[in-house]
């Protein structure tokens, strides 16, 4: 094949470079869209770029970004987690219950401190994640079905906890020693809301895991070619299980944040959040087939969705049109994802010819 390399013609090289450019643009589409949206909304709505609005925007984005970051790992393995919205709802209700109703044992009702309430919340949500992981990795249930089931189970559990009612007044009582819950969602640090810092921290963690650790690499390997991953000695079921656990943990955090912000836990919290998260992940360039994508992309995707929603509100676009526009954006994102894969396959010969490995 060396002769091919040497006889690379000018038109080939041209085709190769334009192929690279197109692919690069497609890969960076989320950033491009985000920049375009920011410019568009700042021009059309002068109050869009104010510090106050951006702070509100960041808080909204944080919710979907947290879910999207957790979802990214699941999708990278070729799976999907539909249960995150329900887990968030369940998490809020568990926290609400332990703070307002306490835990009865030994004949008396104990009101655990907030830290314990949070811990209990995480544990309960991890159980759902464990169930997801077990169903998918060990029982071999298709991820869509498994997590669709747990979507209902977790939502039902959330409704059962309070019989469908809301737990109000999560601020706690001094005499019970369980004050401080609202701080999770409402406190500020260095001028930014706490949830935004959580998003930053979780993103940093997830980025390091995805790009710098053996586990992250295994996630990509499982999504890229599960058989080959297994033959390479990667413990595929374990990798999958951990991704679902992590996703449920992120969902629990979101549930806590929302309950804390509202100082109330409502069993319907988080409905359809999973779709937002999936949309953010896909917008960020992660393939639903697995193996391709990044945590960074998902963060940007979450920003796109957040900015879009926020900006449309500021422009006074009708609520119903907002829903339509969001749908259009998601459909476009998936269509472009397909286009990218197809173009990549098509351009591969060009890319290979100029490859440093030189096709020999």
């Amino acid at each position: 094949m060396s002769s091919v390399v040497q006889s690379l013609t000018r038109s080939d090289r041209l085709a190769s470079s334009s192929a690279r450019t197109i692919l690069l643009l497609l890969r960076a589409r989320a950033v491009l869209v985000l920049v375009l949206l920011l410019i568009l909304f700042s021009v059309l709505a002068p109050e869009f770029l104010t510090a106050n609005n951006l702070s509100i925007l960041a808080k909204h984005v944080a919710i979907s970004a947290l879910l999207a970051i957790g979802m990214t790992f699941v999708i990278l393995t070729g799976g999907i987690d539909l249960s995150v919205g329900s887990i968030a709802g369940l998490g809020g209700m568990v926290a609400g219950y332990t703070i307002t109703q306490g835990i009865a044992f030994g004949g008396a009702t104990h009101y655990p401190p907030v830290a314990i309430a949070i811990l209990i919340t995480f544990l309960v949500c991890l159980c759902v994640g464990m169930l997801n992981g077990w169903l998918v990795a060990k029982a071999g249930v298709a991820p869509f079905i498994a997590t669709l089931g747990t979507l209902y189970i977790a939502r039902g559990a959330a409704l059962l906890i309070s019989n469908g009612k809301t737990f109000p007044n999560l601020a706690g009582h001094a005499e019970r020693g369980n004050m401080g819950f609202p701080a999770i969602g409402q406190s500020f640090f260095l001028g930014l809301p706490a949830p935004v810092w959580m998003m930053v921290a979780l993103f940093a963690f997830a980025w390091v895991v995805a790009t710098k650790t053996p586990f992250g690499r295994h996630v990509y390997a499982v999504g890229g070619n599960e058989r080959a991953a297994r033959l390479a000695g990667i413990r595929v079921p374990r990798v999958k299980l951990i991704t679902y656990l992590f996703s449920s943990l992120c969902a629990a955090l979101v549930g806590l944040i929302i309950a804390s912000q509202l100082e109330a836990a409502h069993p319907a919290t988080g409905e359809s959040f999973e779709l937002n998260a999936i949309a953010a992940v896909v917008l960020g360039g992660t393939s639903l087939m697995g193996g391709r994508g990044s945590v960074t992309g998902s963060l940007i995707g979450a920003f796109v969705i957040g900015v879009l929603a926020d900006g449309l509100v500021m422009l006074g676009v009708s609520e119903f049109w907002q829903v339509v526009i969001k749908g259009v954006v998601i459909v476009l994102a998936v269509a472009i994802d397909q286009l990218q894969s197809r173009l990549q396959a098509k351009f591969l010969p060009y890319l290979m010819r100029t490859n440093p490995e030189a096709g020999r």
């Binding site: 690499r217 890229g224 080959a228 000695g233 490995e357």
Partner: protein, 517 residues
């Protein structure tokens, strides 16, 4: 009792799959620091044996010994820990990771909790240099040629410090130069004390590389000898064997009917996929006459499947003319091929043929019903008729198709094709994964169909099958027809020789490649 020259041994190993015995009390010895060649036709059990040695599968019975000590292998990890690694026939490369990541997949080097990328790169480079193929270690595997992907797997095995390296048909997808450099690498490895198990269909290679030869046939070892006692003829005789299909062989052969299918200059693009590309088919011409059984014989990767899939409309045709009974035909999809009367029984029953959730009747009748509504009674009647004709052994046609044995499942697919009253029947490896008795039965059915005037085109990688079934044979080698034989001209050796690509300039040292600036 110990054998200092035996590094690895499989003792009385048996492996059964549903419906067939892949390995039947096989005892196999691997000679230390030699190139141990394992030969056998498709389905002889070579790959199964190797998968057991590499910990990918577990034997039902028997035991393994490493240096005379009993060895338990539960996973590929166990095998690697014991210094045994395998380069798989279907390349197990992760397309979305780069070279270095692939080499260390599943056993990453770490510093603290993080991947030690620098260390991995250095070791990857070292392994690639040892393989005489320096490459940029951050190149994505999906952008590499097949030969390079193979080298990645070799590099992975090397960096694990393997003592026993299993190469399962390593050259089947490689170009000539790539194969040559692989042989240099194998010689290097042998000099470095590595024991190699080498599986291939290509006689030239085997005779050039091999130190010890073992032949498997239908799950049994039928030949075992050092290089000095091995000749080309010995291999072919061991491999092909003879079985009781003499009644078929004696049948009159027809090659004189009216031409039915006429193909001129068929060219098919190389399939670029994750799984591994096949040689593209170049400018292939063939003609099938009425009532003729035409065989296409070729080794793995010769392009057999591509030809029949293209004729069945399942694979795009780049150029070429196809005429059916003198009328020009445009095949641009399966529907148009079926419309014209060309139907295919695919090679991989499970993947491309059967619908496991459906019953035998539904599988046969699939897409065979005409009109807008299904008529259950007519359908059952038609299927019953075909099932009786083909002798499908099923108590009840409403049973799930998965309840049938391999041979009967194959007959279900055959019945499905016949339900469309084809003028040309294409079969890709007609008896893949079918036991011996059912094989002979399928041959008889096909011969009988031909007697009634049906034109049949089948592909095969089995010498015996080709010899038994075909009136006329085309040999396909690297996408081109390399020979044509009438039934009476056919000899095993001529067939095999025509199918083997002439890879080796035996006298010259294979050139060292990889120095492109």
């Amino acid at each position: 009792m110990s054998y200092p020259d035996i590094i690895l041994e499989a003792r009385v190993v048996t492996k059964r799959y549903p419906g067939s015995v892949a390995l039947d009390r096989v005892s196999y010895r691997v000679h230390r620091n030699q190139v141990n060649v394992l030969i056998g036709e498709n389905g002889a059990g070579k790959s199964t044996l190797m998968r057991i040695l590499a910990g990918v599968e577990k034997a039902d019975e028997g035991q393994l010994l490493l240096n005379g000590e009993p060895l338990m292998l539960r996973t590929p990890r166990d095998a690697a820990a014991n210094g045994i690694s395998i380069v798989h026939q279907e390349l197990a490369v992760l397309p979305n990771l780069d070279i270095s990541e692939n080499i260390f997949a599943g056993r990453e080097l770490t510093r603290a909790a993080f991947v030690n990328r620098t260390g991995e790169d250095i070791q990857s480079n070292a392994a690639l240099v040892r393989l005489r193929k320096p490459m940029q270690v951050n190149t994505l595997a999906s952008q590499l040629s097949l030969g390079c992907r193979q080298l990645i797997e070799l590099a992975r095995a090397l960096s694990q410090g393997s003592q026993v390296l299993i190469l399962d048909e390593p050259t089947s997808a490689l170009s000539t130069t790539e194969a040559e450099s692989l042989f240099t690498v194998i010689a290097d490895l042998k000099n470095a004390g590595v024991t190699i198990i080498y599986i291939s269909h290509r006689l030239h290679e085997l005779l050039y590389l091999g130190d010890h030869f073992t032949v498997l046939r239908s799950g049994k070892i039928v030949g075992d000898a050092p290089r000095a006692e091995v000749s080309r003829q010995w291999i072919v005789e061991c491999m092909s064997g003879r079985s009781d299909t003499s009644d078929l062989t004696a049948q009159t052969r027809r090659t004189s009917g009216k031409p039915v299918l006429n193909v001129r200059g068929l060219t098919i693009a190389a399939s670029v996929g994750e799984e591994g590309a096949q040689a593209p088919v170049h400018d292939l011409s063939l003609e099938i006459r009425e009532g003729e059984v035409l065989g296409i014989y070729g080794l793995l990767g010769a392009g057999r499947t591509e030809v029949v899939e293209a004729l069945a409309g399942f694979r795009p045709i780049l150029s070429g003319e196809i005429a059916l009974r003198g009328r020009k035909l445009k095949i641009d999809g399966v529907a148009s091929a079926v419309q014209a009367g060309i139907v295919l029984v695919p090679e991989d029953r499970q993947r491309d043929g059967l619908i496991p959730e459906l019953s035998i009747r539904e599988n046969v009748a699939l897409a065979g019903s005409k009109g807008s509504f299904l008529s259950r009674s007519k359908e059952t009647q038609a299927v019953r008729q075909l099932a009786d004709d083909l002798n499908i052994a099923a108590r009840d046609l409403e049973l799930p198709v998965t309840a049938l044995s391999g041979g009967n499942q194959q007959k279900v697919l055959l019945a499905r094709c016949l339900m469309r009253t084809p003028s040309v029947l294409l079969l890709d490896e007609p008896t893949r994964g079918v036991d011996v008795g059912a094989k002979a039965e399928i041959y008889r059915i096909l011969r009988a169909l031909a007697q009634k005037g049906l034109s049949i085109l089948f592909t095969s990688s089995e010498i015996e099958e080709t010899r038994t079934l075909a009136d006329r044979v085309l040999v396909l080698c690297q996408g081109r027809i390399s020979a044509e034989f009438l039934h009476e001209e056919l000899t095993d050796e001529a067939l095999f020789t025509a199918a083997s690509p002439h890879v080796l300039p035996l006298e010259t040292t294979p050139s060292v490649s990889g120095h492109i600036a």
